[in-house]
Amino acid sequence: MNPKLAQKIAFVFLLIATLCVIVPVLIILFIIVKQGYSAITWEFLTTMPRDGMRAGGIFPAIVGTLSIVLTAISITLPIGVGAAIYLNEYAGDNALTRIIKLSIVNLAGVPSVVYGLFGLGLFVIFLNLGVSILAGALTLSIMELPVIITTARGALSSVPQSFREASLSLGVSRWQTTRYVVLPNALPGIMTGAILSIARISGETAPILFTAAAFYVPHLPRSMFDQVMALPYHLYIMSTQIPNVPKNLTFGTALVLLMLVLAMSLVAIVTRVYFRKRRKW
């Protein structure tokens, strides 16, 4: 075949493959916005559900999801990044670290409902935290650790080795090299991992099903040890457990969940842009 024609065909195929990614996203967004936006009112966002979820707002579910997700990410991010720094910058390649790396991969492959049961057993019952924000957040953070560690390690190892050597050759310690040369340059990549994790944690239902979420709580959480309503679980209840819920309320809830994820990710995105701009190579 003529190489020019072959190139054209290849490009067309690659373009189609790319569009296949965009199209479903747009369709999902379109459906949710179209069906749900009529439900979005100030009252919907700031009041309690009424009439067995068939009317009123979703305020407690918003508060619940926010508190679970923010707690989970603030537990998992430092631990995950710390583990990634240790594995990438300090640990040698030996039997132990290979086992650790293998466990991380395996941890990523565990279905989320299994994490839910694990959280129920360890945090809710054994550590006696009860069904609570803390138990749910801990469960989610363990589920998210492999993702954070893997993306953070990728970001760390993409910092050229020569930067480390240049810093070390000045008599700068390994920790200072990590802190002042490696981490700042790896931060955009680490933030990408954080963004993905926030999105995934916010939408997960199974891990919080037994550990944090409640069908209905008539008040807002007062402490980390309270049960809460959560958006994904609330969505599940509205669409399967209760008959005759107005459709726009269900889709409105989905829309709010999407917006919430976007808002939380925005913080990470802004940090990422800031550090990418500062990066000068």
Partner: protein, 249 residues
């Protein structure tokens, strides 16, 4: 002549690869020792053993002794050692920050916080590497925007800013044009007054231009070491002669 760096029956290997064999070599204070030799002759390994950067490589091991001012470097704290022994790499390796921050990086990490003191160190280091005139108005630009030759002199300045005794140059001009090379060499000859310099180079002419003595390495062995003038005019070993006259493989 004061002995600065002394290697005695030094052997280095990476796993099973024996890259330096039974090396006995002395570097005198305030001289430029040029090390020439073909690829895989152990030149760079020797340099990276002196500041113990090789410690980080998996499978690296060294036996024998290597002393600086009489102190065994393998018994020293590597960070303290590297403050005394600066290194300039083959490719210009500025850190991804401004020109100023690059030079200030070492002193800051070593605990100097006084802004005025740092500014003085930066200016002094950039002057010593003959870069000050070219960058004094560009100190807050990214170091990545400098030309290759300027970047390499910036790296020299960054090394000087931590006030080492010894500077190791690892083929510092391999990526530079002749004019930049001349500037780096000029700076090197000037620096000899204060520092001891070991220069590894693939460029035989460079060794003949700047070094006081020259050593010829081949396959991990030191074949010959002598005053540069003598080595280049009347080498004792046939292999040295072949290499410097370009008849070597």
């Amino acid at each position: 002549m004061v002995d600065k760096i002394v290697a005695t029956t030094l052997n280095c290997s990476y796993g099973k690869v024996h890259s330096i064999k039974q090396l006995n070599l002395t570097v005198f204070q305030n001289e430029i020792l040029g090390i020439i030799g073909p690829a895989n002759s152990g030149k760079t390994t020797f340099l990276r053993t002196i500041n113990r950067l090789n410690d980080m490589l998996p499978g690296f091991s060294a036996t024998g002794t290597l002393t600086i001012d009489g102190a065994d470097i393998f018994a020293m704290d590597p960070e303290a050692l590297r403050r005394k022994v600066g290194m300039v790499f083959a490719l210009p390796l500025p850190l991804p920050m401004t020109v100023y921050d690059n030079v200030a990086y070492g002193p800051r990490r070593h605990g100097i916080t006084d802004k005025k003191e740092i500014a003085e160190i930066v200016e002094r280091a950039l002057c010593a590497s003959s870069l000050w005139e070219e960058v004094k108005d560009r100190l807050n630009e990214s170091a990545m925007k400098l030309s290759g030759g300027q970047q390499q002199r910036l790296c020299i300045a960054r090394t000087l800013a931590v006030e080492p005794d010894i500077i190791l140059y690892d083929e510092p001009c391999s990526g530079l044009d002749p004019i930049s090379t001349a500037k780096v060499e000029e700076a090197m000859v000037e620096l000899k007054k204060k520092y001891t310099i070991v220069l590894v180079t693939n460029n035989v002419k460079q060794a003949s231009r700047v070094s006081d003595r020259t050593a010829f390495f081949l396959m991990g062995e030191l074949i010959e070491i002598d005053q540069t003038a003598k080595l280049f005019v009347s080498p004792k070993d046939k292999r040295t002669e072949d290499y410097i006259t370009g008849r070597f493989g």
